[in-house]
Amino acid sequence: MPLVKNGQITADEFVAVADDVELPAEGAVLISAARLLADPERLVARNSPLGVIWPNNRDVAELKPWLDRLALIALVFPTYKDGRAHSQARRLREVYGYRGELRATGQVLRDQFTFLVRNGFDALDVKKETDAHAFGEATHRYTEFYQPTGDGHRSALQLRRQRHLTSAT
């Protein structure tokens, strides 16, 4: 499945390692939440980028102590109708200030790209090749947004507030 990162189709530098397989000495790895939490101190001290696959039914607040040492958090969409990871993403970015890669995995389709980007995902493990190529088109469909999120767009209310104040002076 193609990985779209910061808007570009790109190779995945992370290697997913199963729980019962020894971690390589070097290189970026992606491990399970259970493995991370079993021995977090040792794992985050490893001298290569570390990523974790975080299940969508587990509180992301548990990750707080390790956030500044995680290079990647992969959140899961088992079906694209299951939107729990949307909330996890917003809390990680906007409440806990996570700045590493935030990747959407699972059933990731173009009709959700805009939502995913608005919620703070910067990497999408896209299910369909054609969708990956349509990233630009899909994410530029909307020029205005009603809700403020951490994506930097000003919301409709914020824009109008500005106009209102300008016209009042």
Binding site: D59, Y80, K81, D82, G83, R84, H86, S87, Q88, R90, R91, E94, V95, L109, D111, Q112, T114, F115, L116, R118, N119, T130, R141, Y142, T143, E144, F145, Y146, Q147, P148, T149, S155, A156, L157, Q158, L159, R160, R161, R163, H164, L165
Partner: protein, 551 residues
């Protein structure tokens, strides 16, 4: 009326183009039906028994005459010349082709109407008191807040894939016409001791297979905090709402399983993370929305004009006036309800011609504004009292002056088995039969206010649980049976009705309802004791006895 600005218009048009692209990918096979389904639902498109059904949002039930004419245009151009107004302040078109939907949406977008999130597991159309802004005694016009909520919940990136659908209703009156206690979130606009405007927030109401009356989760949330507080409720629900079983996925089950105190504590914790953040409203933001609600330039008019005195001798006019005309916050004006419940008609249906004619009457008599209520009737909210006789005469010609608003034949009914793929039994023919039996204005006036609600299946689109008399269609061995409940109500004293006994076959429903009504007439203490109050006092037993003694 709320006037869209360039931002609102851009979003609606961009949405239409997105849907056009999705439909074309579906038609080419690039999208599977499974992938397309949640997308079409979020644009109001269902696949029903016979065809696609298209559900259009009427936020907080407010329409301009231009918007109503455009709905008539859609009915005429893409459908079979009529539409059906629903309990969700929506209009549904039943016979529309998938290929025509993007064009229909584009036509509606020209007048600022959309079908965003009228279905699907997302935040749905925000409903409100259909008398908002004109009812006497309101804290303030709740539609300003309903519009703030509409905007915030439209295309919300975090809450478009919730465990289940999510419905808001809002009122600013002590008398609740918005049924806020049977919504996922009910909001009542209040003012605290310091004079600040805020909300009593109720959560976890809902009907369907497990009906619950909503509970107050917080007695006062300041207006500036309402979006962050709502966001916290939805975030908790998104995370913890059940996804293993769709019948247990609504927020009412989560609230019930956790208990309101524990649920409230979870919300407080989620709120603490985001309160005072970017969602906090300030006066300029609220004022900007308020400034785009345009109110009529009311004149100073007499409360009892000569025209009204002159018409008082006409018994038909007086009968209509008694139940269709309500007091207005401005002297000299009235709120007029247009019954979409003629004897023998399907409740809530209006033809394209009727819609056009109502739009014309709204221009002439109601400053171009129309409302849609959850009782499936239309409302002209700003009628000068001197114009009432002329308006009545015009409505009478259109078949829209049936004098039964709030009375026994003002029946709420879902489309039932005639249209709906979920239904187990018909609703419309039951409503038609009952409306014929109770067609006499004299009998109806004798009975007084009595709400009958009919649903063709457990999903309860006809709100049968909260009907004074509720009728629920069920299927037994391939035949249609109906369970009857009594004592339900959807207002500020909301309660769920109680079952009176075994389900009865299709052919006996109307007789049973007549028996119940006759029992009430013989049992009531005074002529002004409402049916629902008599049931409260007496319990179901005497009614049950009357119905089943001879069956």
């Amino acid at each position: 009326m709320y006037a869209y600005d360039d931002i609102d218009r851009a979003i609606v048009h961009e949405r239409v183009e997105e849907f056009r692209d999705q439909v074309s990918r579906r038609l080419s096979g690039e999208l599977t039906e499974d992938e397309f389904k949640p997308l079409r639902l979020m644009n109001g498109v269902y696949l029903q028994l016979h065809a696609y059904m298209f559900r259009v949002a009427i936020p907080y039930g407010t329409l301009s005459s231009a918007q109503l004419r455009k709905l008539a245009h859609v009915a005429r151009t893409y459908d079979r010349g009529y539409g059906h107004f629903t309990t969700r302040q929506n209009i549904q078109f039943n016979w529309i082709a998938l290929k025509d939907l993007p064009d229909a949406l584009a036509d509606l977008a020209e007048v600022g109407i959309h079908a965003m999130q009228t279905s699907g597991n997302c935040t749905r159309n925000v409903t409100a008191d259909q008398w908002a802004g004109v009812a006497p005694g309101e804290v303030e016009d709740p539609r300003v807040w309903a519009e703030i909520l509409r905007q915030h919940t439209a295309l919300h990136p975090e809450f478009s894939f919730l465990p289940r659908k999510f419905k808001f209703a809002i009122t600013a009156s002590d008398h609740d016409r918005a049924a806020i206690k049977i919504h996922d979130i009910g909001l009542k606009l209040v003012r605290n001791d310091a004079g600040e405007t805020g909300f009593e927030v109720l959560v976890g109401g809902g009907l369907g297979r497990s009906p619950f009356i909503g509970r107050t989760i917080k007695s006062f949330v300041a207006g500036r905090d309402i979006l962050s507080y709502i966001e916290a409720v939805l975030r908790v629900y998104n995370q913890y709402g059940r996804r293993d079983n769709i019948y247990k996925a609504r927020i009412k089950i989560l609230v019930h399983e956790l208990g309101i105190e524990k649920f409230a504590a979870e919300v407080e914790q989620a709120w603490a993370e985001i309160a005072d953040g970017p969602l906090t409203l300030d006066d300029e933001m609220i004022e900007d929305i308020r400034s785009r609600f345009i109110y009529p330039a009311y004149e100073k008019l007499p409360a009892e004009p000569d025209e009204l005195r002159a018409a008082a001798g006409d018994a038909r006019f007086e009968a209509w006036r008694n139940n269709s005309v309500a007091p207005h916050r401005h002297d000299g004006y009235a709120i007029v309800t247009l019954s979409l419940k003629p004897a023998g008609g399907p409740p809530g249906d209006a033809t394209a011609e009727q819609m056009d004619a109502v739009a014309d009457l709204a221009d002439k008599y109601s400053f171009g504004e129309i409302r849609v209520g959850h009782e499936q009737n239309l409302v002209l909210p700003h009628v000068a009292r001197r114009d009432l006789p002329a308006l009545w005469a015009a409505l009478d010609k259109l078949g829209l002056a049936t004098p039964n608003v709030g009375l026994v034949s003002d029946i709420i009914a879902c489309p039932g088995l005639d249209y709906c793929s979920l239904a187990n039994a018909r609703s419309i023919p039951i409503a038609q039969e009952l409306s014929r039996r109770f067609a006499s204005p004299e009998t109806a006036a004798l009975i007084g206010r009595l709400h009958i609600n009919i649903s063709g299946c457990i999903n309860a689109c006809g709100h049968h649980h909260v009907g004074h008399i509720g009728i629920l269609g069920v299927e037994k061995n391939g035949e249609e049976f109906y369970q009857i409940t009594i004592g339900g109500r959807a207002d500020e004293g909301a309660e769920l009705g109680e079952l009176i006994g075994p389900a009865v076959p299709y052919g006996e429903v109307a007789d049973v309802i007549e028996d119940i009504v006759e029992a009430y007439l013989s049992l009531r203490q005074r002529p002004d004791e409402l049916f629902v109050d008599a049931v409260k006092r007496l319990g179901v037993e005497p009614f049950k006895e009357r119905v089943y003694a001879t069956r």
